[in-house]
Symmetry: C2
Subunit: 142 residues, 2 copies
């Protein structure tokens, strides 16, 4: 029951991107340095974000990445699914209908547990947005 290191790094990287929102494109090298993550590893993660429409890439010199929408509108769940794909706690919840998990007597009863689990995981992750991960909001002001 683990998320991948890619997801962990990806969330941290996106938090940085949220912190510098509206400051122009931020190159991966900067993120890599700030978070002590291998640049090459980040290069492998970010195309997923771009393909999912979470970020916009600017190529060439002085290029980099920026969020495609405000940090409040990007949820941790978006990031997780962009990197790891849809969340499926057990294989028989995948979309390929070839799994025989429901051909047994109590198959569909256990399936309900896994479905509930999957939904709750998505709920938790979709309840937190990027702006909550950075420290911008005036939480201490009355």
């Amino acid at each position: 029951m683990k998320l991948s290191a890619k997801v962990e790094y990806g969330v941290r990287a996106m938090a940085i991107l949220a912190f510098y929102y509206q400051s122009g494109p931020l190159p991966l090298r900067e993120i890599a340095e700030q978070e002590s993550i291998s640049l090459k590893f980040l290069e492998q993660i970010f195309p997923n974000f771009r393909r999912s429409g979470l970020i916009i890439s600017v190529r060439g010199s002085r290029g980099g990445y920026l969020l495609s929408r405000p940090p409040a509108e990007i949820k941790v769940g978006d990031i997780v699914r962009a990197v790891d794909g849809p969340i499926t706690p057990v294989n028989c919840l995948s979309d390929n209908g070839s799994d025989p998990c429901c051909h047994r007597r109590e198959g569909c009863l256990t399936r309900q547990v896994w479905e509930k689990l999957r939904d709750k995981i998505n709920d938790v992750l979709d309840d937190v947005s990027l702006d909550e991960l950075i420290d911008l909001k005036p939480t201490h002001i009355t």
Copy 2:
């Protein structure tokens, strides 16, 4: 974000055991046949249940396994943790304090997400007990 096949098989096997609760020891071979699971693979899973105190083993001829307490008192979460160990969505939530995930600026903010996720997963799994997986309860009777 996947549970292992061991957990999947383990829950199914425990459901069978719940179904035959109070019918004397049930040999692994029977469970293996009913669920089309390799006997040798089951033999590898069940010691975890015994060590966690979920089942009692009866050795010798006409031996087998039986639940150590009523199905209503065994949660799916117990089964999952017995097989896969404690649920830790990311490595920095493990008990070894050597992980540097909190030495960074926003480290502890993302950590809160993972902690919340871990707690919710446990909540869901601990909310379902074995008797809900089998079809004994008179749900259709007014």
